[in-house]
C-alpha cells in the first residue's frame, strides 16, 4: 500500500468508527431531507379557507363545475356570526372572511401572512371578474395571463435538495478537516508523520481526497433519495455541474475547518466552534428555507458566505436548468475563499499542544 492510500484508509476508518460523528455529520442532514421532503410534499397549491357570512351572490350563484374546479384551492365555510368569523381570521384559523353589504362584496384577511393575503385577494378578484363577465355578457377588454417562471415541475424538493445538500457538504467537510487537525495534533500523529519520509503534499492530498470522496457520496445519496418518485426530484440538463461545485465547496468548507482546527485545542472545542459557524451560516444562506424573507442587511451579509453561493449555484444547475454561466463565478469564488482561509490557518498552525 502506498503512503497516500494507507493514510486515506486510516482517516476513513477513524471517521466511520466514530458513530456519533457519522450520525451528526453524514446521516443527520439526510434525515432532514427525508423529513422536510415528506412534510412539504406539494405547497405549490396553497389551499385557503374562507368563512362566508350570510349570502354572497358571486359565491352562491357560481356554477357547480366552477365551484368544483375551485375546490382544490378553496374551502368555504358558512357562518352567521361576522364577529366570530373575523376572530377566526385574526387567530389564523381561517384565511379570509367574506360577506355582502349593499351589493358590495366585503373581504377581510390577515396581513400576518403576506403570501396567503395575496392568494386570497387574487382568487377573489378573479371570482368577481368572472361574475361581472357573466352578468354583463361583455367579454373583458383586457385580459391578464400569468405563469410562473420555473419549470412546471417545481416542487419544494427542487429547493430542499440543493439547500440541504449544501449544508451537508459544509458540515461534513468542515468537521472532518477540523477533527483530523485537532486529533492528530493531540495524539501526536502530526509529529510522528514529520519523522516519517512522507511529504506534506501526500498527507494533505489524502485528507482532501477522502473528503471529496465522501462529498461525492453525499451527492449521490441525496440526489438518489430525492429522485425516488415519493419525493420526485427532476434533474435539469446541467445537473452534473453540481459535482465541480461540490468539489470546490468541499475545499472552501475544509478551509473553515482548518482554521477552526488550527485554533482549537480539543475536539470538543472544535466541534462547538464549528456548530457556531456552520448552523447560522446555513440559516442565513437559505439552506433550510429561502432567505427572501430575511432583513436586507442579513441578505447582504450572506453574500460573503460560501454556503450561500454554493446553495444558489446548486439550485441553478440542479433545478433551474442553468449551466456554466451560473456555476463558473461560484467555482472561482469558492476556490478564492478556500485559498484565503487556508493561508490564514497556516499562520495559526501548531505542530503540537505545547
Amino acid at each position: 500500500m502506498t503512503a497516500f492510500r494507507s493514510l486515506s484508509r486510516a482517516m476513513t476508518l477513524g471517521l466511520l468508527r466514530d458513530r456519533t460523528a457519522v450520525f451528526f455529520t453524514l446521516l443527520f442532514p439526510l434525515l432532514f431531507l427525508a423529513l422536510f421532503g415528506a412534510l412539504f410534499q406539494s405547497d405549490s397549491l396553497t389551499k385557503s379557507t374562507w368563512v362566508q357570512v350570510g349570502d354572497v351572490a358571486v359565491l352562491d350563484d357560481m356554477p357547480d363545475e366552477e365551484l368544483a374546479a375551485l375546490s382544490d384551492v378553496l374551502t368555504l365555510v358558512k357562518s352567521a356570526d361576522r364577529e366570530a368569523a373575523l376572530e377566526d381570521v385574526r387567530q389564523g384559523d381561517a384565511d379570509a372572511a367574506v360577506w355582502e353589504e349593499d351589493g358590495r362584496i366585503e373581504m377581510r384577511y390577515s396581513a400576518a401572512d403576506a403570501t396567503t393575503a395575496g392568494t386570497v385577494q387574487g382568487l377573489m378578484q378573479s371570482i368577481v371578474q368572472s361574475a361581472n363577465v357573466a352578468a354583463t355578457g361583455q367579454p373583458p377588454a383586457f385580459e391578464l395571463a400569468t405563469d410562473q417562471v420555473e419549470d412546471k415541475s417545481v416542487k419544494p424538493i427542487q429547493y430542499l435538495t440543493p439547500g440541504l445538500l449544501g449544508w451537508a457538504i459544509a458540515q461534513g467537510a468542515a468537521y472532518m478537516s477540523a477533527f483530523t487537525l485537532v486529533n492528530w495534533r493531540k495524539k501526536r500523529i502530526l509529529r510522528r508523520l514529520w519523522l516519517a519520509p512522507v511529504s506534506p503534499g501526500t498527507v494533505i492530498g489524502a485528507r482532501v481526497g477522502v473528503s471529496l470522496a465522501i462529498a461525492f457520496l453525499q451527492v449521490a445519496i441525496f440526489v438518489g433519495v430525492a429522485c425516488i418518485p415519493f419525493y420526485g426530484l427532476h434533474l435539469t440538463g446541467y445537473w452534473w455541474l453540481a459535482l465541480p461545485l461540490v468539489a470546490t465547496g468541499t475545499l472552501a468548507f475544509m478551509s473553515i475547518g482548518l482554521l477552526i482546527g488550527a485554533w482549537a485545542k480539543t475536539e470538543e472545542a472544535a466541534n462547538g466552534a464549528l456548530q457556531l459557524v456552520i448552523l447560522p451560516m446555513a440559516f442565513v444562506s437559505g439552506s433550510f428555507f429561502p432567505n427572501d424573507a430575511m432583513p436586507s442587511w442579513l441578505r447582504t451579509l450572506s453574500n460573503i458566505l460560501p454556503l450561500k453561493h454554493l446553495t444558489q449555484a446548486l439550485q441553478d444547475v440542479l433545478s433551474r436548468g442553468q449551466g456554466w454561466g451560473a456555476a463558473l463565478p461560484t467555482l472561482g469564488g469558492l476556490l478564492l475563499f478556500a485559498a484565503v482561509l487556508t493561508a490564514l490557518a497556516s499562520r495559526l498552525f501548531r505542530w503540537d499542544d505545547a
Binding site: 503512503a3 476508518l13 509529529r191
Partner: protein, 244 residues
C-alpha cells in the same frame, strides 16, 4: 557514503523553552553500530536533546548530523534510514494495533508481512485486533517500538522504551534490541533503569540540567569513581535532590 562518518555527530546543541534552558550546549558522537545510552534525572533534557537530534525540533544553536547528513531541515531521504520511538506514543484514532503498524509500514513503503512479523516479535500477535485505546500501557509501548522498527532502520532512537513494561516484556525487548544492534544497527536510548543501561549500552552519557556531565563505558565509569555500579555513578554525579 563512507562508513567511517559517525552515526551521530552532535555539536553544541542548545534549546530554550521560555525561561527554562532545557538543553545547554550538548556535544557528543555515537559510532556506527554502537549501543548508546543517555541517562539523567527527570527534566535533565534527554527528550529535548533526542528530539533535536532526530530533526523533530529546531535547535536554538548547534547542529546534529546523522549518518553524515544534517537532520535539520527535514530530509525525507534521511528519515527513511532512522527509526524513532517517542516518549509519548503516537497512534491513529480508532485503529487496531495491526492497522496502526500497517499504516506506519506503508509510510516507509514496507509490506504488511514484515509489519505482522514485527508485531509478533514484540509479543502483540494476539492483540492485533485491539484498538489503541484498549491496549494496556505496556502493550501500547511495545506497539510504539514495533512501529519504530518496522522499516529496519540503520539508526534507532528509543525514548524510555522499557518504561511501563513487565519484566518478561523488558527481557524480551532487550533480546530484540541486542539482536538489532548485533546486526550492525546503531541504537540510542534513554532510560531510568541503570541496570538496563549497564547491560545493554556500550557507552552512556550522563546528563543533568541540560548538560552532559560524563561519557564513558559503564564499567569504566564505575571503576573511575570507585563505586559498585552505574546507579552509584549516577547518584554521585547528579546528587540526591528531587528534580522539579
Amino acid at each position: 557514503m563512507t562508513d567511517d562518518t559517525a552515526a551521530i555527530a552532535v555539536e553544541g546543541l542548545r534549546k530554550r523553552y521560555g525561561d527554562v534552558q532545557a538543553v545547554d550546549g550538548v556535544t557528543f558522537e555515537v559510532r556506527r553500530g554502537e549501543f548508546y545510552g543517555i541517562l539523567g534525572p527527570n527534566g535533565a533534557g534527554k527528550t529535548t536533546t533526542m528530539e533535536m537530534i532526530e530533526g523533530l525540533r529546531e535547535p536554538d544553536e548547534g547542529s546534529a548530523r546523522l549518518l553524515g547528513q544534517p537532520s535539520w531541515p527535514r530530509d525525507p531521504a534521511l528519515l527513511r534510514r532512522i527509526g524513532v520511538q517517542l516518549q509519548a506514543s503516537a497512534f491513529f484514532d480508532k485503529l487496531t494495533a495491526r492497522e496502526q503498524i500497517h499504516t506506519f509500514a506503508a509510510l516507509y513503503g514496507v509490506g504488511t508481512e514484515r509489519a505482522d512479523a514485527m508485531l509478533e516479535s514484540v509479543g502483540l500477535a494476539e492483540k492485533r485486533d485491539v484498538r489503541d485505546n484498549k491496549l494496556s500501557g505496556g502493550q501500547a509501548q511495545r506497539l510504539s517500538i514495533a512501529c519504530a522498527l518496522v522499516h529496519d532502520p540503520e539508526l534507532l532512537f528509543l525514548d524510555e522504551p522499557t518504561t511501563g513494561l513487565d519484566p518478561q516484556a523488558r527481557r524480551n525487548l532487550w533480546d530484540l534490541l541486542r539482536q538489532i544492534n548485533s546486526a550492525g544497527r546503531t541504537v540510542v536510548l534513554t532510560t531510568h533503569y541503570l541496570d538496563e543501561a549497564e547491560t545493554l549500552c556500550d557507552r552512556v552519557a550522563i546528563m543533568d540540567a541540560g548538560r552532559i556531565l560524563r561519557v564513558g563505558r559503564p564499567a569504566d565509569l564505575v571503576a573511575e569513581l570507585g563505586v559498585h555500579n552505574l546507579e552509584d555513578v549516577f547518584l554521585q554525579l547528579t546528587g540526591r535532590e528531587y528534580r522539579e
